[in-house]
């Protein structure tokens, strides 16, 4: 049938592109991460040697090297902690916002939703830059605090881990609000009324009714914030100082400054295994499961 040819064209054009330009590059990262490093260009040896018969020339030394050095592990742990704290604050600010937007009347709801997401469309880099202006020693925040008499001399707000957290929470907040809103929007508001009628107070209603029902939204939003933040490079570079090193920064320096390609590849591949793979597997299982249950 004609359909067959047509379907093949639709399935295989993007398939071809993604295998060539996405899967093979990932495979190359893995290949270089198990190559023996040497001085030269490129700074690693081939994994297949043919000079004296065929020989496979691989090593796990690059992984041993990064996993036994506190410099690398410590930075990765710093990034995980940073991501955890930022996700927590995004949730703390995002949840009430998403909840109140979802419980507004329908016209207001759409306007508020657009208002919340629109800043996300403006340039990421420039939104981080805006915080650089706000947190300057003679920036607007210090000026306000000085005039209110809360502080007597300007605080050093920039170039430390707190500025980094601030910048991350600000730029990633819409990513938390959107999935939260998506789930809160579906849920039946009568349940809140019902639980009040049954005598539960506000706090109990929140913990027994609202929170359990919004768990999928919380999980989705947290993942959308947590994973990219672990690999974040720009925000620590612009707002952070030398008090803390992060995964993104050491990966960048390992490649561009130390020119240790196998080391950088091992760092990147470990990042994929630790962060991305569990989520991808979860997603595939989930989409299979939901397909089975619908059809």
């Amino acid at each position: 049938m004609k359909n067959k040819l047509f379907e093949k064209y639709f399935v295989f054009s993007p398939y071809f592109w993604l295998v060539l330009f996405f899967f093979i590059p990932l495979a190359i990262i893995f290949k270089i991460s198990i190559s023996v490093s040497e001085w030269g260009m490129p700074p690693y040896q081939d994994i297949f040697l043919f000079d004296n018969g065929f020989k496979i020339n691989t090593t796990f030394e690059n992984y041993v090297y990064i996993f036994s050095d506190y410099y690398y592990i410590g930075s990765f742990v710093n990034s995980l902690i940073l991501a955890l704290i930022s996700t927590f604050f995004c949730l703390l600010i995002g949840f009430p916002l998403a909840f109140y937007i979802a419980t507004s009347n329908i016209r207001l709801r759409n306007i508020l939703l657009v208002l919340v997401v629109i800043p996300f469309w403006s340039s990421f880099l420039l939104r981080v830059y805006a915080w650089k202006i706000i947190l300057q020693n003679n920036g607007i925040l210090n000026v306000i605090l000085l005039n209110l008499g809360i502080i007597s001399e300007p605080l050093q707000l920039l170039y430390n881990q707190y500025a980094v957290i601030m910048g991350i929470v600000y730029t990633y907040l819409p990513l938390m609000i959107l999935p939260l809103y998506g789930y809160l929007n579906k849920f039946d508001l009568n349940l809140i009324e019902a639980s009040k009628d049954l005598g539960l107070n506000r706090i109990k209603t929140f913990f027994k009714v609202i929170l359990p029902l919004s768990v999928p939204g919380i999980v989705a939003g947290s993942l959308l914030v947590f994973i990219p933040v672990v690999g974040e490079f720009i925000i620590p570079e612009m707002l952070g100082g030398s008090d803390r090193l992060y995964y993104g920064k050491i990966l960048w320096e390992e490649f561009f400054v130390n020119r240790n390609w196998p080391g950088a590849s091992a760092l990147a591949f470990s990042g994929i295994i630790i962060l991305v793979l569990p989520i991808v597997i979860f997603q595939i299982l989930y989409s299979r499961w939901s397909q089975k249950n619908e059809i």
Binding site: L18, L112, V114, L126, L173, G231
Partner: protein
């Protein structure tokens, strides 16, 4: 009464938090003083300097070109993926297909950028192409990670959309291709436009992947801006920010306009 007060306060504070930095940036772009933080008076001086800054203008043109091209390619391929995942039953190694089309959504940009750069270098060693990196390699990388965003929009749209219309058309004698071009694509057109706008913005805004895959003659706007503000402040970048944020917010509103259509 009391709870509605809390509600308005939360919403007001949330919106204030989101918009305050943008407003500060726009405010300072009108500062006459070269020292960004010291207010000297209202002036359009930095807008004038911005439009005479050849480096920024040139990089802006490069960025627009790459963004438009990669958004177009990513939209074509993304629509194909979205369509395949919802409408085509037999996809060989379907889990692998889903893996390829959804991983770029969660993969940290830094890892993606590194893998693309090492790929282009290896490719050059094997077949002698691309001999140097530049606009072409940025374009390829941007297409690769924008595809996933388009695919997810199209997939959502097609899942909602009533299959009966397609089947009715088929019963009336339309063949498969005709149904696609006369029925399915026109109905999902708003989502296709929304997907294109999203891909365009993502490409225009990308710094990390472009930094890895760039080469001589391919400094995109984010690369130039980053080099200017990495260590300090720049009054020209303030002026640029005000213009760019305004333009991007307009694009965002268009996105919502098109994407809203699919909800009804």
């Amino acid at each position: 009464m009391k709870s509605s007060l809390i509600k308005s306060t939360v919403i007001f504070l949330g919106l204030f938090f989101l918009y305050f930095p943008i407003l500060v940036l726009i405010f300072y772009s009108f500062n006459e003083n070269k020292r960004v933080m010291v207010w000297k008076g209202f002036s359009l001086r930095w807008y004038n300097e911005l439009f005479n800054n050849e480096q920024i203008i040139e990089s802006f043109i490069i960025s627009i070109k790459i963004a438009a091209l990669s958004a177009t390619f990513a939209t074509i391929l993304g629509v194909m993926i979205g369509y395949s995942l919802v409408r085509i039953r037999k996809i060989p190694f379907k889990s692998f297909y889903i893996f390829l089309s959804s991983t770029p959504l969660v993969l940290p940009e830094l890892i993606l950028g590194l893998s693309m750069l090492l790929f282009f270098i290896s490719l050059n060693n094997v077949i002698g192409f691309p001999s140097s990196r530049g606009q072409l390699t940025i374009f390829i990388s941007h297409v690769t990670f924008c595809i996933a965003f388009v695919a997810i929009i199209i997939q959502a749209r097609l899942t909602d959309f009533n299959k009966n219309i397609e089947e009715a058309a088929m019963d009336l004698g339309y063949n498969y291709t005709k149904v696609l071009y006369k029925i399915t694509l026109p109905i999902i057109l708003p989502s296709i436009i929304a997907g294109w706008l999203l891909a365009f913005t993502i490409s225009l805004d990308d710094l990390v992947v472009a930094s890895f895959t760039t080469g001589p003659g391919a400094n995109t706007l984010p690369i130039v801006v980053f080099s200017k503000v990495r260590l300090g402040l720049s009054p020209e970048v303030n002026a640029l920010s005000a213009i760019l944020m305004f333009a991007l917010i307009i694009i965002g509103l268009f996105y919502f306009y098109f994407n809203k259509k699919f909800k009804h």
